[in-house]
Symmetry: C2
Subunit: 641 residues, 2 copies
């Protein structure tokens, strides 16, 4: 009987940020998905709405940024702080929400109604033949292993018709939100870092006011209470107001307030400024406790992410962003395993990487809130925190900077593991470079630094870090140095790369000739994209003549490092210099499919660079590298156009 159940690669429960980003990736990569949500339609209004700078990088890398920006979201560049004064409130200071030292490509928070963001993903899913079935819910599941390929049985029920369905899946992904059925069934507890719980009122609307920062993000403390202001699209503004706290003497987690009560409170808080409402679009009251699930998966078959695993105060604006990055982290690892590239054991790194991030986020939030409640920053401190090279850093400035890095999404630093090289990694070559030793500016487990370069094929000035889309491939950036000095190293890199037994050759397409001449990112292998960056003028680079074929074949991934950078005015090859590489000799950077730096190796003559990378990839890929089990036809010998 069970044999009759429909089989899916993945069942995804919940069409919030976690479920949708995961589904979008898996649908693009050809997986068979069943995606359900218990709401009859996407979020109509309200809910989370802040896209942090790092998340915007990710959306662009998925080709979805333009669809988001088409809605003309509000952009927050600065945050203003207001405090009580004898006449009401006054501004103690403003500062950049993503200061320059973070070096973000998009140094602002993008604010847009969550429903519009969800629709961007849903539209993309539909282009790839996937859809969200509504209103369906999950009623049961078990990893019974009855079918070793599809070990998970999932029971589903249609909410508006009582229809039920049982399916089998390779994976069950749970993005139901804070009140997760799956997490409850698995009896996974939530741990609260901060014992304080809050009740918040949230109101979206169109207002009239002479408060000068109404289009800014503001934190306002007054003798009449506190409020947070967030601008939104369509001339709207969101107000967050704290209605109750577990620190209150008469704390009641069910305490509520009407729209009129919140408006009256806001009017008092904002004095001497006036405020009135043309209309209120949405209003809600909800309790929030900041907590983290003890586990994100028990068996690497049933995975949870987003609000199922961690809940945040709205102040930090992290809910949706953390959910996005959970999903991105999981998507490529599932793909690496299911496509035969990596060992199944890598799936353990989803929990270890993402749970540490959530814990750090909550720790920072707590530390930051505590610091703020103790004292107010002086104008000098604010200025220092915004400067590129602060001269002195006290505890407040340090915490503020760390907080900015975290809230912008750039503070995400995955710890050392099999993907994120460190001296304790099984790959031991002494050609690995590291930030700790000062041999590169790149940090493993951190996103690749942005850089402007000239694409040789069409002379377009491009953002190097965005040139390879999120498609499940590892990104191999060959910073080639100066061709006139370094061609031997480049040629040796290419010839060793293409030798039998290398990580690259091991994962060549079986039928290379079937690949389109016009394939840009994956002409040789679904698992790698090569990009070459040279310290030369664009017009001096003729790829087919200058470079070995394996590099030249990536016709639109060859770049001239010839764009002047105001931060590195002396550099001839600013991208090389920014990464901390010798501008003549370059280096090779391996970037994970999600854009985080995996390892950096010296580019040397001989086989050393590839030997090091064979060690690195050999530590997690499914095939054995370094020797050819049987005589394979050499890569360069196979006809490739």
């Amino acid at each position: 009987m069970a044999a009759a159940h429909e089989r899916y690669d993945a069942v995804i429960v919940g069409a919030g940020p976690f479920g949708l980003l995961l589904s979008t990736c898996l649908a693009r990569w050809g997986y068979k998905i069943k995606h359900i949500d218990n709401r009859p339609e996407p979020t109509p209004t309200g809910r989370a709405d802040g896209i942090q700078p790092r998340s915007l990088d990710l959306l662009r890398n998925m080709g979805l940024k333009r669809a988001i920006m088409a809605h003309d979201p509000a952009k927050v560049y600065e945050v203003a702080f207001w405090d009580p004064s004898k006449d009401g409130i006054y501004r103690t200071g403003t500062w950049a929400s993503c200061p320059r030292f973070i070096d973000a490509r998009y140094p602002f928070t993008t604010l847009l109604h969550q429903g519009l963001i969800e629709r961007v993903f849903i539209d993309d899913m539909e282009k790839n033949g996937a859809k969200v079935q509504r209103p369906w819910t999950i009623t049961g599941f078990k990893n019974d292993g009855w079918d070793s390929t599809y070990p998970v049985e999932v029971n589903l029920e249609r909410l508006d018709g009582g229809v039920t369905e049982t399916v089998r899946a390779k994976y069950l992904f749970d993005g139901e939100g804070a009140r997760s059925f799956v997490r409850t069934q698995l009896k996974i507890p939530i741990h609260h870092k901060d014992p304080i719980a809050h009740v918040w009122g949230v109101m979206d609307g169109v207002v009239r006011t002479d408060f000068p920062d109404i289009k800014m993000k503001c934190t306002i403390h007054s003798d009449a209470g506190s409020i947070m202001v967030i601008p939104r699209e369509n001339n709207m503004v969101r107000l967050y107001i704290q209605i109750a706290s577990s620190t209150d003497p008469n704390w009641d987690p069910r305490k509520t307030a009407t729209v009129e009560e919140v408006q009256t409170a806001a009017k008092k808080i904002l004095k001497p400024y006036y405020i009135s409402w043309d209309r209120v679009e949405w209003y809600s009251v909800y309790p929030i406790g900041q907590g983290i699930a003890e586990r994100y998966t028990l068996d690497e078959r049933v995975f949870m992410g987003g609000d199922v695993c961690h809940t945040h105060s709205p102040k930090a604006g992290q809910g949706m962003n953390t959910a996005f990055l959970d999903a991105q982290n999981l998507a490529w690892k599932i793909h690496a395993v299911e496509s035969g590239f990596a060992e199944r054991s890598i799936l353990k790194s989803y929990e270890s990487e993402r749970k540490a991030i959530a814990e750090n986020l909550l720790n920072f939030d707590a530390a930051y809130a505590k610091l703020f409640s103790q004292r107010l920053p002086s104008a000098g401190e604010v200025k220092t925190a915004n400067a590129d090279s602060p001269t002195e850093e006290n505890q407040f400035v340090k915490t503020f900077k760390a907080s900015c890095e975290f809230t912008s999404g750039y503070g995400v630093a995955y710890n050392e593991n099999i993907f994120n090289w460190s001296p304790s990694h099984p790959a031991r070559s002494d050609l690995f470079l590291s930030e700790a030793q000062g041999t590169t500016n790149l940090r493993t487990g951190r996103i690749l630094s942005n850089a402007n370069v000239t694409r040789v094929a069409d002379a377009n000035v491009v953002h190097l870090e965005q040139e390879i889309p999120l498609n499940g491939s590892f990104r191999i950036y060959v910073f080639g140095g100066k061709p006139s000095l370094n061609m031997q190293a480049i040629n040796d890199f290419a010839s060793n790369l293409t030798k039998p037994g290398s990580f690259y050759t091991a994962y060549l397409y079986k039928d290379l000739e079937a690949i389109s001449y016009h394939e840009k990112h994956n002409p040789h292998s679904a698992f790698f994209t090569l990009a070459t960056i040279l310290n030369a003028r664009r017009s001096d680079i003729e790829p087919e003549k200058l470079l070995p074929h394996v590099l030249a074949r990536y016709r639109t991934h060859i770049y001239a490092d010839d764009i002047w950078d105001a931060n590195l005015p002396e550099a001839k090859a600013a991208a090389h210099a920014k990464m901390g590489f010798n501008q003549d000799r370059g280096a090779v950077v391996i970037v994970r499919p999600d854009g985080y730096v995996g390892c950096v190796v010296r580019l040397v003559e001989g086989s050393g660079s590839i030997d090091a990378l064979n060690e690195y990839f050999g530590s997690f890929v499914a095939k054995q590298l370094g020797r050819s089990a049987r005589k394979t036809v050499g890569f360069e010998e196979r006809a490739m156009l």
Copy 2:
């Protein structure tokens, strides 16, 4: 009988670039339009496709750039020149298609299929209730004055059904293209600047080649003939090949060539590189003579624009761009007259401004082509032309620079007239500044220089020149200098601006109270938008406290001039400095609704600045300024929130 004819503000014939941009503007501004085209559907393939940098500014100013970019057009940053060598062809050099000295916001040409561009306009028209009726043609028209408000009778016929219709209109706009019925009926001759005519073959397709510049714009001369390469969206490339020239001994304007003949020719020309076609999307052969119509209108009721008035060699890529700018120039002038703002006589300036541009374009094209045919540029010349501050300029460099300015669209310089102030303008105040006298860097009749500033309301870093959309209003930029030194001048400007009889007060809304609190661009008048730029930090500007109400009311048009400019590293207020203004004292810039500078006046204490502007506007507005015919209620006295 005639009384029964439907009446329209405008009949527009032809839905190419001229007709569509005109229609889009007029539909947005509330005019009743009848727009016909004789094709059953928009351009399906082929045709013009190059959007020049200046046109992209315009599309952004209309809010249409994002819809264009959503199609992922090709972008041309550089042009490559190839010449014969003994082994085939070699690259003599490449250079920027829009070099840095032009200071374009978007220094590239955008290449996209004309049909996709047309659909962006059609979609926008439909949002405003207008549409293109197809396939309809014009069969007759006369400006018979029978109805003084709707003096033009137009006869139309449906091509696929034989239905006819006669309508009356205030204006007939003709954008039929080179074979214009209207121009023929009016017996307006075309003058050919260049007596040489050509037959061109044009082929769009997807190719395979090892020619390294296939994704660049290239001009290739070889012993086997000449070809021009233009990259396109969707991995396509366009090849232009000259099939015949009137300079040929056996010149035949009906000479043609097959796809295979052009491909064979291209293969020969590109040697030693190979080329083959995966598919050909479009192929056409057409004769081109560069010419200009003697008149653009005879009566300021029947107007022509675009290819009706001027035809260009495809080499220059000017056809669509010149049509756009024709339409923009005409649209706001029609609006100014029909809405009662300006005297009808201003309509004469459409022909005088736009015809001079077309003539200049063809003259430059001829001069440039001649220079090129004489000799090839040396590498040093190319380098000089691309440098920011050329050390020496020979004739080639001068012509190349002028040519770049023209082809980018920034060379458009309207001559002095009633809109473009010069010492011979009727407004004689000695407070006018001029580039000729070195008192400003802005040139009247030229587009406003771009500048980055911080919007005070939300701390967004914005492009000042784009902040006011194309909506028919004159743009008044008050560069206020340093508030701590200059408040008296700012306050005097505001109080004189709002006095009875001023150009501003004369065109206030009759019912100011009916205007929405949330109106951003036109809270006081449909004809003016005020923007204030201050030499101060954003956080030091609280508009309602600092500025007079008439300026503060433009809540989202107050800017801090606090963004560092790498080209003006010493400037405290880089936008002030870039315009050539004293950073403490500022100045006032009047920009025409199409973005071109009208006049620049000193910002002084007392009434002088407004007196000068009253003179300026008084020379073309419909109402008499400078005195109040009857006692009107002063502007500041009327309640406005």
